[in-house]
Symmetry: C2
Subunit: 412 residues, 2 copies
């Protein structure tokens, strides 16, 4: 089957003729609306004209960056990796992704549950909504998907067979390599920043100690094929409500360092936290900080707990595991420390690039007054620099918490 | 084209009918002899009946371990990875591999230059032959193939496309995972050792500090997709004479840590060095030690030199590279330190497993007196343990040299 770009009309034919989807709607009863927010993909909601509860989402990748047009090509094959990772997530952690009804690699599309009772977390944060189960849910998702696709759990053959499905996701990996780890810290036409922080930005671009560490972290990102990572797990890739938390938009998925996903969540929550230094809601700010650390704490605790139950793995064959006795804990401790410290380094790069690279975040960009916004941006830069410079030592919750508190104490 | 196992008769037909090989011999003038040493593959020398200078080697993989028989299956597809890595080596470092005349992935065979003026290095060592150019040649090969397939030099797209050709070399990677990093240090039926070192072996198997580090190194081997490594670069995979040095038998090739190849050479030379504590040739012993360290020194120097000439790479885009100025050296220093330290860790594991795992080495196994052999084996175990326990600190030639001298001083 070939590829063609769908529209609100042709998608109805597609749905009605699809073996997997035809049960959803009867011919003539389906209608479609394109609701994509305009950045990357087409997103259709297809629903029944007679029963408003019957609806699905169909996401289709197109071969260019939608918000720019055909002049900015971006291979539609990225959907292949989103599909493959969603299928893996469905096996490992089914409650943390929307239900998948149908996938089609040729048409670069995925049909899934319409999350119309959920919102993008970034938007929820702007509305000061607390999500009491978020840390619990996302840490569970992280452990199940990351531990579950690592050598701590999988056999070497199975891991490599899975890895083989993602090796060629080069285009999106390269976006991360460039836009998280390099371009923001050098002269590059895509960079932009608030003129109020011009001096701070210049200082970082001349800060070789920072740049060496960013490079070290980039090297880890490029070379550590540790587990199937989401690759872009910021608060804009999470849809949730009080009861449920879903991970979406996994087109960046590949075998990379476990800390990258953990750091993405942590760093994005900390940026939101910083934005509240100039917004009027201290209670919510505290919730953000607590949640960021709860994610880290729960991730660590669950990772150790679930790993300890694996008695035979690629890394530790059964007799090796058994004959080590209690020393296993020491090994686990070492391994989790390394994951946490890398997560902090990655969090730092992700925080830094959002202040001075091409892509910024809503929580900070919506602060209209440039001077007010600069207060937040400077705080994020300060903290991000600490994280990147010292990530190797920042391997446990306590000293990470102290670093956040001490670095930002001037704002309290 | 299908696969069939060749013999001394059918190989003549194959050669005469092969497009790439038919120029070599005229019909009726070719004769073949199987000369494989019996472990893994069939190795034929095909030569002209009338001109003894005209000969080629054809190596064919068979779907089981030859020395055991069909009861020990080993996928013939391993030849695919040998072929692919040889083709890559031919591009990157053509003088360090035999000339390749023809490859055939379906038939699992490779036709190449007959190295009849060269011997396997392990055998040369047993004959006390000094190779004055060896360190120069092998360090050049290591830098060209390892730097040349890493993110220090390749574009991310090219690197991943190359990586994609090796990801599924799972079977042979797993042999290394098991037999270098796990089985020797646990209860396993394949292990064997000299009864004279029974206590030493037991001690290592109870030594949790050692076992934790071995596990850490195994994790690096399994997860660091740093460059296309040979994967089994001991002195038995090198054929040489005074003027030329060739690398062969690269069926273990995959994207792994750079230090693994470097450590393999270094560790094997050190084991040979240790064997001379009970052999009567102090001059040759000193040559072995000097050569081991020359390899390390030259590798380090050339790696830095050749890397410094790359002004635009996946890791360091041009503006990043330029704007870092002299700080680039600090970054390089950091990176090479890490490679060296991992090489020492890997060398340690490789040295240890040869004393107590399934596979031993000729230089030590040919010492017939068990008590004499034990002197060597104990020395290797002592040194290997130091390497594995302290590899993170052993990141420069001087402290590595001191460790060797101090650990073995009791033997002088």
């Amino acid at each position: 089957m070939g590829y063609s770009i769908l529209d609100e009309k042709s998608i109805i034919d597609y749905v009605i003729n699809s073996k997997q989807l035809k049960g959803f709607f009867t011919s003539g009863d389906a209608e479609a609306k394109e609701i994509g927010d305009g950045n990357l993909n087409l997103v259709f909601v297809v629903k029944s004209k007679t029963n408003s509860n019957k609806s699905i989402i169909i996401k289709q990748a197109i071969p260019y960056l939608r918000c720019v047009g055909e002049s900015f090509p971006l291979a539609k094959e990225r959907m292949k990796y989103e599909i493959r990772s969603m299928i893996e997530y469905e096996k490992l952690s089914p409650t943390s992704i929307p239900k998948i009804y149908h996938t089609d690699e040729d048409m670069c599309l995925i049909a899934m549950q319409n999350l119309n009772n959920h919102i993008i977390m970034r938007k929820g944060i702007l509305e000061n909504i607390e999500y009491p189960l978020f840390a619990e849910h996302i840490s569970e998702h992280l452990v199940k998907t990351l531990l579950g696709t690592s050598s701590f759990l999988m056999s070497s053959n199975d891991k490599k067979a899975l890895m083989d499905k993602f090796t060629m996701n080069t285009e999106l990996c390269k976006l991360t390599e460039d836009f998280v780890f390099s371009s923001p810290y050098m002269t590059d036409a895509t960079n932009r920043h608030n003129p109020e922080i011009d001096e701070d930005v210049k200082k970082i671009r001349l800060d070789n100690a920072f740049k060496i560490k960013a490079c070290e972290l980039k090297y880890i990102f490029m070379n550590k094929s540790e587990a199937l990572i989401h690759g872009d797990l910021h608060t804009g890739s999470i849809m949730l409500n009080n009861n449920e938390t879903f991970v979406i938009d996994s087109e960046f998925a590949f075998f990379g360092p476990i800390g990258f996903d953990v750091g993405a969540i942590f760093g994005n929550l900390l940026m939101a936290y910083c934005s509240y230094f100039v917004r009027d809601n201290k209670t919510y700010q505290e919730w953000l900080l607590k949640t960021a650390f709860d994610v880290l704490k729960l991730f660590e605790a669950k990772f150790i707990l679930q790993w300890a139950q694996v008695e035979d793995s690629a890394l530790l064959p059964k007799p090796y595991f058994e004959e080590m006795g209690e020393a296993r804990r020491e090994l686990q401790e070492l391994m989790i420390r390394q994951i946490i410290s890398e997560a902090i380094g990655f969090a730092g790069c992700k925080m830094m690039r959002r202040q001075m690279g091409v892509a910024h975040i809503l929580e900070i960009e919506t602060i209209e007054d440039e001077k007010q916004r600069a207060i937040v941006e400077k705080a994020v830069i300060k903290l991000a620099r600490e994280f990147v410079l010292n990530y190797k030592k920042l391997d446990n919750i306590n000293n990470i918490f102290d670093t956040v508190k001490n670095t930002l104490s001037y704002l309290h």
